[in-house]
Amino acid sequence: MAMKFSENADRMDVRYVAGLARMALSDEEAARLQGQLDDILAFVGELKTLDVSGVEATDVATEARNAWREDEPAAGLGRDTALANAPLARHGQFVVPKVIE
C-alpha cells in the first residue's frame, strides 16, 4: 500500500487517515473534514516560511529527563479488578471478537 501522506506532502487524504484510525466517514463528513484538514496543514505550513537556521532543533518541550525507576516489583490491580470493566471475560481472560493474524 503506497503512502498517501508524508511530512513533505502538502495534502493529507482524510479517507486514508480515517482508515488507519478505523473510522467510517460519510461522504459529507469526509468532504467537510478534508477541508478542515487542508486548512490546518496550510496553517502549520506557514512555519516553513520562518528562518530557523540559527535555532537548535528540539523534539521535546519539557526539561524532564529519565522518567525511570529501579527494578522493584509492586502489586498491581489483581485479576478481578482488572477484569471488572471488561465487556466480556472468561477463564480469567479478556474476551474479544475473534481476530486472526
Binding site: P73, G76, G92, Q93, F94, V96, V99
Partner: protein, 475 residues
C-alpha cells in the same frame, strides 16, 4: 543454489531478564494464571502513565557495549500505532528515530569460515499481550504485556541458513553469559523476524525482500530459510517476479505462506511518545556498565586455547556454557594437567549431567575434587577404570577422592613383588598364549596383561604388569 546469492537479515526480539515490566512495576516473566500480574499501565487504561525500568535500559546498553555499538547518550521513545487487541492502547512504545544502540557487529563461524555480521541498531520496546484464539472469540492475557524487549536488527549480511543460525547461536551465548536474558526459546524469550532475498550471482543489487514473521525455534528458522530461498530462486528461474511481502512459516507443511495482507500494515504513523521524556545517559554511567561486562564466549575460547593449551575443539565445548567454562577453569587452576581436566569435564562430567538431566550447579563433585582425581591418575595411584569408579562416587555424593580411593581399596598395586606374583600366575594358567607371545605374537601380551589385572582385581598398574610379563617371558 549457485545461480542465486541469498541475503539474510534478522530482527531478533529478546525478553530481558528483569524483575519487573518495561513501563510498570508489575512482576515480569510470570507464567502463572492469566491476568494476575497486571496494572492500569500494562492493560492500557486511559490516563495511565509509563515509567521506564532503568534495569532494562542498562541491560540493552550492555548488549550494545558487547557488540561494539555506539551508545546513544540521548535516546527517545516513539509510539508505533496499530490496532490489535494484544496492545489495547493502540500503540506500542518503542524506539524508532533515536534508538539506544547504533551499529555494532557479531563475529560468527559457519562451515569453518569466520564472518562479521553487522548490526544496524538495537532498540528498547515492550512486549505485547498473549492472545489465544478460540472457536468464535479470542482471549487475552496481559501478564506478558509490557515485558521489556530489546530488538536487535542486523544488516542483510548472512548468506545461508547456517550463517543465520550461527549468528543466533553466537548472540544467544553472549546474552546468557552477560545475564541479559535466559534466552529460553520454548518460553518465547527469543523471537525472530527473518528477512531474505536472492539476487542473480554476479550482480550487486539486493533482490526483493520477503519477511517471515515470528519464528521461535532455530530449527524452524533454518528450515523456513531453506524453503524460502529456494522458493524465491525458483520463482525467478521460471521468469516470475517476487513481491515484497510478509509470510508465515507453516511448520507442519514445511512451507511459507503469504500472510493475509493487512491493509495499511506498514504505516505505523510513528511519533515521539509524549508521555516519556528523553533517556539521557552520562558517559561515566555507560563506562561503569561496560566494566560489569563478563568475558565474552569468543574471547574466553581463545584464552582457553592460549592459557591452557587446549585444542580449539575443547575450548569450544567448554565455553559453550558459561557455568561449565567456569567449572573447568576452577578445576584447571588446581591442576597441572589441563588437558586431562578438559577430558573429564567434556567426557564423564557432561555425560553424567546429561544422564541425570542436571546442570553443573547441581553437581556434587567440586572442581577441586576433580583436579585431585586427575592428580591421583597422573601419580599412578589409581588406574583409569578405578578413577571412573571414584568419579561416579564423587558425582553422586561429593567428597575427597583420596579418601574414596582408600576406603574402596582402589589404589593401584605398584609393588613389584606383588605384580611379579600375578604375572607368574597368569603365565602358568595360560601356557598356550604365553607360547604364542614367545613365538612373536605381540598382541598376546595384552591378553596376559588383562589376566594380571583380573588377578589383581583391577588394581595392578597395567604398565608395570606389562613390564613384568615381558621380563618373565624372556623379552
Amino acid at each position: 543454489m549457485s545461480d542465486y546469492i541469498p541475503s539474510i537479515g534478522l530482527e531478533v526480539h529478546v525478553q530481558l531478564k528483569t524483575r519487573t515490566k518495561m513501563f510498570c512495576a508489575c512482576p515480569a516473566h510470570e507464567e502463572g494464571e492469566p491476568n494476575t500480574t497486571v496494572c492500569p499501565v500494562c492493560i492500557g487504561l486511559p490516563g495511565a502513565l509509563p515509567v521506564m525500568n532503568r534495569e532494562a535500559i542498562r541491560k540493552t546498553v550492555k548488549v550494545g557495549l558487547m557488540i561494539g555499538s555506539r551508545i546513544s547518550l540521548r535516546s527517545m521513545f516513539d509510539r508505533k500505532n496499530y490496532f490489535y487487541p494484544d496492545m489495547p492502547k493502540n500503540y506500542q512504545i518503542t524506539q524508532q528515530a533515536a534508538p539506544l544502540c547504533i551499529g555494532g557487529a557479531v563475529e560468527i563461524e559457519a562451515g569453518g569460515q569466520r564472518k562479521t555480521i553487522r548490526v544496524n541498531h538495537i532498540h528498547q520496546e515492550e512486549d505485547a499481550a498473549k492472545i489465544t484464539h478460540m472457536e468464535t472469540t479470542s482471549e487475552i492475557d496481559f501478564n506478558r504485556a509490557s515485558t521489556p524487549l530489546m530488538e536487535l536488527v542486523t544488516e542483510p549480511d548472512m548468506s545461508s541458513p547456517d550463517e543465520a543460525i550461527a549468528f543466533l547461536t553466537a548472540l544467544k551465548e553472549m546474552l546468557i553469559y552477560a545475564g541479559i536474558s535466559d534466552c529460553n526459546l520454548e518460553l518465547g524469550h527469543m523471537r525472530c523476524d527473518v528477512n531474505s532475498s536472492v539476487r542473480p550471482s554476479g550482480t550487486d543489487k539486493l533482490g526483493v525482500k520477503c519477511e517471515i514473521k515470528n519464528m521461535n525455534t532455530f530449527k524452524g528458522i533454518h528450515r523456513a530459510l531453506e524453503y524460502e530461498l529456494e522458493r524465491q530462486a525458483e520463482t525467478l528461474r521460471k521468469g516470475g517476479t517476487l513481491v515484497q511481502e510478509t509470510r508465515r512459516w507453516d511448520d507442519e507443511a514445511g512451507i511459507t505462506l503469504p500472510m493475509r495482507s493487512k491493509e495499511y500494515a506498514h504505516d505505523y504513523r510513528y511519533f515521539p511518545e509524549p508521555d516519556l521524556p528523553p533517556v539521557v545517559l552520562d558517559a561515566a554511567t555507560v563506562e561503569a556498565w561496560r566494566a560489569e561486562l563478563p568475558e565474552l564466549p569468543a574471547v574466553r575460547r581463545a584464552r582457553f586455547v592460549k592459557d591452557y593449551g587446549l585444542p580449539e575443539y575443547d575450548a569450544g565445548v567448554l565455553t559453550a556454557d558459561k557455568a561449565i567454562s567456569e567449572y573447568f577453569e576452577a578445576a584447571a587452576k588446581k591442576s597441572k594437567n589441563f588437558k586431562a581436566v578438559s577430558n573429564w569435564v567434556m567426557g564423564e562430567l557432561l555425560r553424567a549431567l546429561g544422564e541425570k538431566g542436571q546442570g553443573i550447579a547441581d553437581a556434587k563433585i567440586s572442581p577441586e575434587a576433580l583436579a585431585a582425581l586427575v592428580a591421583l591418575v597422573d601419580a599412578r595411584t589409581i588406574n583409569m577404570p578405578a578413577a571412573k569408579d571414584v568419579f561416579q562416587v564423587l558425582f553422586e555424593n561429593g567428597g575427597d577422592p583420596a579418601a574414596i580411593v582408600k576406603e574402596k581399596g582402589l589404589a593401584q598395586v605398584s609393588d613389584a613383588g606383588a605384580i611379579d606374583g600375578f604375572a607368574e600366575q597368569a603365565i602358568a594358567a595360560n601356557e598356550k598364549v604365553a607360547a604364542e607371545y614367545r613365538g612373536g605374537k605381540e598382541a598376546a601380551l595384552m591378553f596376559l596383561v588383562g589376566q594380571v589385572m583380573k588377578l589383581s582385581r583391577g588394581k595392578a598398574n597395567p604398565q608395570l604388569a606389562a613390564d613384568a610379563l615381558r621380563r618373565k617371558l624372556g623379552k
